[in-house]
Point group: C2
Chain length 260, copies 2
């Protein structure tokens, strides 16, 4: 690695979110930073990509004159694609940092998350990548513990790389720094949203449905991200983009010889 | 299972896509069908969810008077959530079928795909679920081989269920029925998009970037979906929503004791 690694910073909450400002504080003396972030909030955009519209990329001075930053009209994944293939195509990105998200991306939330999808897109491109999320949705959230642990994890990855994959899903509990017990490297807990929809009538008396819901954990394991977070640890789940359910290949082979 | 299973049909191309009409042909004598599909094309929407806007759900007669069908203003995942938690909340959905998509969702394309995200959302809810994709983007695509194999696979799942997971990613090669050699149950190939962006100036002389690109397969395995498709087989990848990279948990444990 070069003396000054090139670090791509992105998020899904946009340039004005406190989370990305804090992430830049984490990384700015660890390498040369380029920020490419959405020009509007893009939470829960999953791995969406913009194909049917042109994209815009505008240089901005959002984090002071020293930080090279661009806002992009697309999704978090679009930001990473444009960074890799347009803005930085002549350079080699050493690390991608995404976040710090306002709200948990533990358990199955990795699937819905724009923060994690941006990080995953970079990892598919072969770039070591870390997504950070704080379990606090508030604009006034206290990021001091997040900054502390994001810095430790970022330095670890710059020094040692990530072995056996390119992606870490990091979640930080909503606790004061002194109350956090440390870091657990763990697996994704099984969980899901029990959805409810608020039904109402719009000003033209047309019916609408608005998503709400509660998250439930269907997993008693002590080796999960949810268990780590509930016990005061920062959770780190090594993750990837292979969705194959391997044990099910052999057990569904009967399909190959099935006929009506 | 009841005598007439309840089958939810959805897609990401919208109600007017030939693929969904063909999928209804596959399923209509196998159970009671309810269609909930987006009111506009939603390709490449990944696992996006609509949280900041209300959603609309309108009954339509898109497939004749016998087929109960609704169009939804949201993403493919929104369609499944509304079907499960509003429309069919008093009933038990036995199977979800998504597609037939116009274009491949093999390899890493499962991540970007609205078709597969809808199917995955149903699988997270515990509903056995199958996403179908034909390797032909054309509106005039020949769906006869797809219909034949979709019917075999759907009947297999209705009779035997899916063991060890709830989700199948099915891709059908662009071949006449007689040239297809059969079905292979296999793993997701490693692949990625080599992205390019077309740059241009809009009518106001502002620069834009428009996504294009080529898909490359980084995988020589003979047990992959891409290998099956290239050799004239229908590929079936048992899939799930756990993105943990298990071998990397142990190999990155050093992070737990790392300090600056």
């Amino acid at each position: 690695m070069k003396n000054r690694p090139l670090i791509l910073v992105t998020n899904d909450d946009g340039m004005f979110a406190p989370g990305i400002k804090n992430l830049i504080q984490v990384a700015k003396d660890l390498g040369d930073i380029v920020v490419v972030a959405p020009d509007s909030p893009q939470s829960a955009k999953g791995h969406a990509v913009t194909m049917s519209l042109p994209l815009r990329l505008n240089k901005v001075e959002a984090f002071g004159p020293e930080i090279e930053a661009y806002e992009c009209s697309g999704t978090p994944v679009d930001c990473v694609k444009l960074a890799k293939h347009v803005l930085l195509k002549e350079r080699s990105i050493d690390l991608c940092l995404s976040g710090i998200n306002h709200g948990s991306n533990a358990s199955v939330n990795i699937i819905y998350s724009g923060t994690m999808s941006a990080a995953m897109e970079a990892s598919i491109e072969g770039i070591p990548s870390i997504g950070f999320s704080l379990l606090d949705y508030s604009f006034e959230a206290d990021f001091s513990a997040s900054v502390h642990y994001a810095r430790i994890i970022t330095k670890f990855v710059l020094e040692h790389g990530i072995s056996n994959c390119n992606l870490l899903n990091v979640n930080i509990p909503r606790l004061p720094l002194g109350d956090i017990k440390g870091i657990k490297v763990c697996r994704q807990a099984e969980g899901r949203w029990i959805e409810e929809f608020t039904e109402g009538l719009d000003p033209r008396s047309q019916k609408y449905y608005w998503l709400t819901g509660n998250f439930v954990v269907d997993d008693n394991g002590e080796d999960t991200d949810i268990h780590a977070l509930e016990n005061g640890y920062v959770s780190v789940v090594p993750s990837w983009h292979d969705l194959t359910r391997y044990p099910a290949i052999e057990s569904n082979k009967g399909l190959e010889s099935f006929s009506e």
